[in-house]
Amino acid sequence: MRFTSVDFLLFLAIAASIFRVIPAAWRAAYVLIASYAFYCTTSPRGAIALAAATLFTYAGALWCERLQGTSRAFALTTAIVGVLVAYLMFFKLVVFVPHQGITSWIVPLGISYYSFKLISYVLDVYWGKMPAARRLIPFAAYVAFFPQILAGPIQRSDDFLSQIGNGQTVLPAILRIAWGLAKKLIVADHLATAVNYVYAHVSGLHGGWWIGFYIWPLQLYADFSALTDIAIGTGRLFGVVGPENFDRPFNSTSISEYWRRWHMSFTNWLADYLFMPLRMATRKLGNVGLVMSITINTVAIGLWHGIAWGYFIFGILHSIFISFEALTAKRRKRLSKQHPEWEPARNVLGWFMTFHLVCFALVFFRAETVSDALYLLRHVASHVADFRGIFEPEGLNSARAFLIGLLGYALLELCERYRPDRWLAQIRLSGPRYLRWSLYASTALVLVIGFALLVATSGEPKNPFVYAIF
């Protein structure tokens, strides 16, 4: 079930209404049932794998806790994490070798996300950061939580378990969902058609390759952050506030800063559970250890999206960028202290460089083949104005639609700077119940009408979320 489908909005309306009226003690169990119901609409077989992985990890963590302090705890933790990583890797690899007679295998939905939740949970228990969950139902709800299962954000178990059972917050939730739908349908989808066209005809274009270079990252951001907005808003309807995933990443002035502001729940996860242990293991190797850890980490980021050369090159490029920044950090800091008057110029240059390097690496991420990526990069600056061939005269791929997408993107950046949804959500609603609920209902109605209008004017939203496949 897609987040931008009418089916999903209906499912959500019914599930959230029932959540409101059931006793607080049943909420965790209810969220669990709703999550598995959601999961089964797409992948009933995957639900069995999900349940098995959940039970395996639940029991494993309890056992691990009992062995805590003994040498066997390390062996057991390694074994559990090893099984979970193998489980993830198996399905990631299966997708890319369809000719080996295992095409009937279906990759369990959301496996990239829920296996990360399971791995960090086991490590948290092993490191003594939290006790192993005693109650199976809230834990299983954590793993299967439907707002987060398709594409995150990756919430930590202690954060989730401390919130499950809370009541819903309606207005901030609806506003956040509306914000996400608008970003997806008005900005991302209007930009997507031109970007898709460029990447589908890289060597056949007469010009306009810059769209693949500059506009693709904007589309990806609008698309992926919309998915997170909908996930966080939906989570709030079930009492759980998930972690943020983006903090206006294209305003970063360095690549390291960019990674602290892009897909944050994922990069923070890697920083804690991959980079930190790697750095601890290599800390006596000096800069060699540092570069090695950075490279393993960024290549893991790339290959997590799938096993392909483009993702690998994407990871290697970021490893070069981040290593360069880390190795020159002290020198650059000293230089900027000696010349404080350069600060504004340094920020502008830092922003310019960062944005271009991010775009550069993302071309490899998006292009069908590495040679397509290289072709596009070689032609970025040629025939810049000759992009009319990319647009069809009518439909979602018209020049007008593209312009709507661009203007929408500008508005998006402006809104995210001032976050109108946050102060709107902070309005304390007092007054009789019927008045509050009339407001909630009318907000939801506006959302549904707006959605219907968008669908009616631009055709059924046909672009799936980019990150829904990872």
């Binding site: 930190m276 601890m280 800390r283």
Partner: protein
Amino acid sequence: MTETIEQRLNRVFQEIFDDDSLEIRPEMTADDVDGWDSITHIVLIAAVEREFKVDFTTAEVTGLKNVGDLIALIEKKTSK
């Protein structure tokens, strides 16, 4: 007079973050120090290990919440 743990640690911080005016406080976190991120964190940890001739485990390092925790950990390790 011998230096206290806090004074020695302060020296390590000043050296790693290249800032002679840096004064550590127990409640200080990575957010309070310019340049203290996941990359410099372990550089700092390795320098602390060298200074105090101790060895930390990954579990100990992940449990640190602020400078106070780090001081407490050093005290625990050096008093053994």
